[in-house]
């Protein structure tokens, strides 16, 4: 009986070490959090848009095809860096990309998009950040993949890199 107790410390220790080892070798980012909205329907919202005069209504925009949703702002440097990939999604991959302009100046945003190119089918204005909170956004830029049934399938926090661009395209193909 005592023998079993004496073995306890080493057993517990090695279980803990194994968990550490597992976490080290898998692909994970300790500071990124998975979205709480995965496999849930897109949060419904209405908003003003940047370019068109008509309002943005989420019930009209989502459903029917795979859509990317990209939260961005002109004051956000990583958003600037990833913009080339957002354009590629729209132009090369022919994916509908909806932009959500987060806590920004509408005029500045229009200028920014005119200068850099506008990949978005429409841009909703989230002046006070409420839409972002409904989407569980905590650090822009953030990009979501929404499937043809209007369910959120994937979320990436941070700027899109070449590697991430490939991954997102892959996921989109798998969803279709």
């Amino acid at each position: 009986m005592k023998n079993q107790f004496l073995k306890l410390p080493i057993i517990i220790f090695f279980i803990i070490l194994f968990i550490f080892f597992y976490l080290l070798i898998i692909d994970r980012n300790p500071s990124k959090v998975p979205s709480a909205l995965l496999n849930k329907s897109v949060p419904s919202f209405n908003a003003e848009t940047l370019f068109k005069n008509k309002k943005f209504s989420s019930s009209e925009e989502f459903g029917g095809q795979v859509i990317l949703v990209n939260f961005f702002a002109t004051w956000c440097k990583p958003c600037r860096n990833e913009h080339v990939f957002i354009k590629r999604f729209a132009e090369d991959q022919n994916i509908k990309v909806i932009g959500i302009n987060y806590k920004d100046d509408a005029e500045k945003a229009i200028e920014w998009l005119k200068k850099l190119g506008n990949p978005y089918s429409s841009v909703a204005i989230d002046k006070n950040g409420k839409i972002a909170i409904d989407w569980g956004v905590y650090g822009i830029p953030e990009t979501f993949i929404v499937n043809s049934k209007g369910k959120i399938k994937y979320r990436h926090v941070g700027a899109i890199t070449a590697k991430r661009y490939k991954k997102i395209n892959q996921i989109i193909k798998e969803i279709e």
């Binding site: 004496l6 410390p9 080493i10 550490f20 597992y22 080290l24 994970r28 300790p30 998975p34």
Partner: protein
């Protein structure tokens, strides 16, 4: 030249560590082992001081200097930045290991040659592991090509005196536990380990480790208190927990060592504790450097380094814990004693320290566990630890008040009750008085204050009965804990906070003080520019008692902004002001804090440290005998 020399010294220490391992295993003579011990010490110290030299002369051909220094950094911080980064702090790990190695070596006498050699063998293996890790993955003498003109500078909030000496003291603490580990493993590994007074050898090392771990943790908290801007000093951050767990086990260890010494009881338990305490120290270093979790304390690193450390922990823990499970039976002797006795109190202390440690460990790694099993992420923050660890510690603290009064062996409940009733009454009286003054109640608050006074008055009584001579380290250290709990409780439950916008030349109040926002100025510091507010503090009698000058600083080299609080301290409260955002038209956001009895946290920690020093002195004398 110098970088190459430093690297050479590091490689040399590798050679000496290997030599020491070989020599002790092959049971070579004293003189030969002495060469490897001294060679190891000198070469590691040499490489460490060379790294300091390189930082001081700002040799930016060295990657470590480039990444962490700048010509405009004040000299003191050039030196202390050496151990504020990952690679440099590995050198600190190594020199503390080799210094303790040397002191294990000093234990040699005619009778204990086999024993000390065995302990040195273990210690050399540990040193070897860390030196190999440093050379292979974290060599501070790595060069950068081409040589840079200037460095990247160093985070300004780390340029602070308390934070600067916090790592060396902390490392003496938890790296020093390696000596206790080595002695324990040596005892278990030897055929007749139980014939050696291993616990007498272990005690001074445990004393030193505990003492410096205590002051090291306290300095880190002190820094957080005055630097981070709202009077907080402990956040249950994973890396803080990583230093707290060895401290809890270290506390259990130094208490149970007393029993082993006096009664030869609980030997197997102490052998296990000393192994676990050091293993937790190494696990702590793993958490900080592997990139497995984020924390304000982590060095940004990659997982491959983590795998190396993990492998080393696996070898170390596998060997030591296997040895324990197979060889410890003979140490389960004579374990019986009465509950109402000093031994009984120490047993309760030990159990609670271990339960608390297990809980902290649970809270720290549970998020990782959940992530591994379910792909979900959860947070475990301060509220969890306040609900679990804090209540668990209360009984231990209560018993601490009574423990020293109990006698060894048998004691009766009635006798104890008679002895403690005076202090019980004083405690109640003081508690009632202080709550009449401060008027705010919570359950934990009342418990904390009662326990604090309980401990303080019991120990003051002991000191008084001994006419304040013959101070034992124990009584002083326990008194320190009483002060600590008083400060922690009072500042937590009776803190007054005021957040307002103030324009220049306006005034406000906090408790009995009047605060006038007098001026705002631009000032220039050594490597920063600052906006400084001048606040005049008046007491009830309209006399000026302080001028507080909080600053908002900008460090051009790193581009950091920091906020420096201004604090006025006395024995009863801290007055704490932080300058927030604002401008001349709308005024500035001002945060005022009235923190009662906060200084007693630091007084308590210092007193605990002094108690430790007194005890180290005593147990050193015992060895010499």
């Amino acid at each position: 030249m110098a970088p190459t020399l430093g690297n050479l010294a590091l490689w040399l220490s590798l050679v000496f560590a290997g030599l020491q391992l070989y020599n002790t295993r092959k049971k070579k003579k004293f003189k030969i082992i002495a060469i490897s011990v001294k060679g190891l010490l000198i070469s590691s110290l040499f490489s460490f001081f060379l790294l300091i030299y390189l930082h001081v002369i700002s040799d930016f051909s060295v990657l470590n200097v480039f990444q962490n220094s700048h010509t405009t950094k004040p000299l003191f911080y050039k030196i202390t930045a050496v151990w504020g980064n990952h690679e440099g702090s590995m050198l600190l790990w190594i020199i503390v290991l080799t210094i303790f190695n040397y002191f294990i070596f000093k234990l040699y006498n005619k009778k204990n040659f086999i024993f000390v050699s065995k302990a040195l063998e273990i210690q050399s293996f540990i040193s070897l592991g860390f030196i190999i890790f440093t050379i292979l993955t974290s060599n501070p003498f790595e060069r950068i090509v081409p040589t840079q003109e200037n460095g990247l500078g160093f985070n300004p909030i780390l340029q602070d005196p308390a934070l600067a000496i916090h790592p060396p003291l902390l490392y003496i603490g938890y790296v020093g536990l390696s000596a206790a580990f080595s002695i324990s493993v040596a005892t278990l590994a030897l055929e007749n380990g139980e014939k050696f007074p291993w616990y007498i050898y272990m005690k001074p090392f445990v004393m030193v480790s505990w003492t410096f771990l205590t002051i090291g943790i306290a300095l880190g908290s002190l820094w957080a208190y005055y630097e981070l801007g709202w009077g907080g000093w402990w956040f249950w951050d994973p890396v803080e927990n990583a230093s707290f767990m060895p401290w809890l086990l270290g506390t259990a260890l130094l208490h149970s060592l007393i029993i082993v010494e006096k009664k030869q009881s609980l030997q197997a338990w102490v052998l296990l504790l000393s192994i676990l305490a050091f293993l937790l120290s190494v696990v702590g270093t793993f958490l900080v450097r592997s990139g497995i979790l984020t924390s304000v304390h982590t060095f940004a690193l990659d997982p491959t380094r983590g795998v190396y450390i993990l492998l080393f922990i696996a070898i170390l823990s596998g060997y030591s814990l296997m040895l324990f499970s197979s060889k410890s039976k003979i140490y389960f002797t004579n374990n019986y004693f009465n509950f109402f006795s000093k031994e009984g109190a120490i047993l309760v202390n030990n159990i609670i320290m271990v339960v608390a440690c297990a809980t902290v460990l649970l809270g720290t790694i549970y998020p990782l566990l959940i992530e591994a099993l379910t792909n979900n992420k959860i947070s475990i923050g301060e509220p969890y630890y306040n609900s679990t660890v804090v209540p668990i510690m209360l009984p231990a603290l209560f018993i601490m008040g009574v423990g020293p009064i109990l006698s060894w062996g048998n004691d009766s409940g009635l006798r104890i009750a008679k002895r403690i009733s005076p202090t019980f009454l004083i405690t109640l009286l003081m508690t009632i008085i202080i709550f009449l003054i401060y008027k705010s109640y919570t359950f934990l608050g009342i418990a904390g204050i009662i326990i604090a006074f309980w401990i303080i008055f019991n120990n003051l009584t002991i000191l008084y009965r001994n006419k304040f001579s013959n101070l034992t380290g124990m009584v002083v250290a326990h008194l320190g804990v009483g002060f600590l709990i008083l400060g922690i409780t009072a500042s937590s439950i009776w803190q007054v906070e005021k957040i307002i916008k103030m324009k220049l030349k306006t005034e406000t109040e906090i408790n009995e003080y009047q605060v006038i926002f007098n001026k705002i100025n631009e000032v220039k510091g050594a490597n920063y520019l600052a906006l400084r507010g001048d606040f005049l503090i008046y007491n009830k009698e309209k006399k000026i008692i302080a001028k507080l000058q909080p600053e908002n600083r900008f460090y051009p080299v790193t581009g950091n902004f920091t906020s420096e609080a201004s604090i006025h301290t006395n024995l009863f409260r801290d007055l704490y002001i932080v300058l927030g955002e604002g401008n001349i038209n709308d005024g500035w956001t001002i945060r005022l804090y009235y923190n009662p009895l906060v200084i007693w946290i630091w007084i308590g920690a210092l007193t605990m440290f002094l108690g430790g020093i007194i005890s180290i002195n005593k147990s050193l004398r015992k060895i010499i005998e």
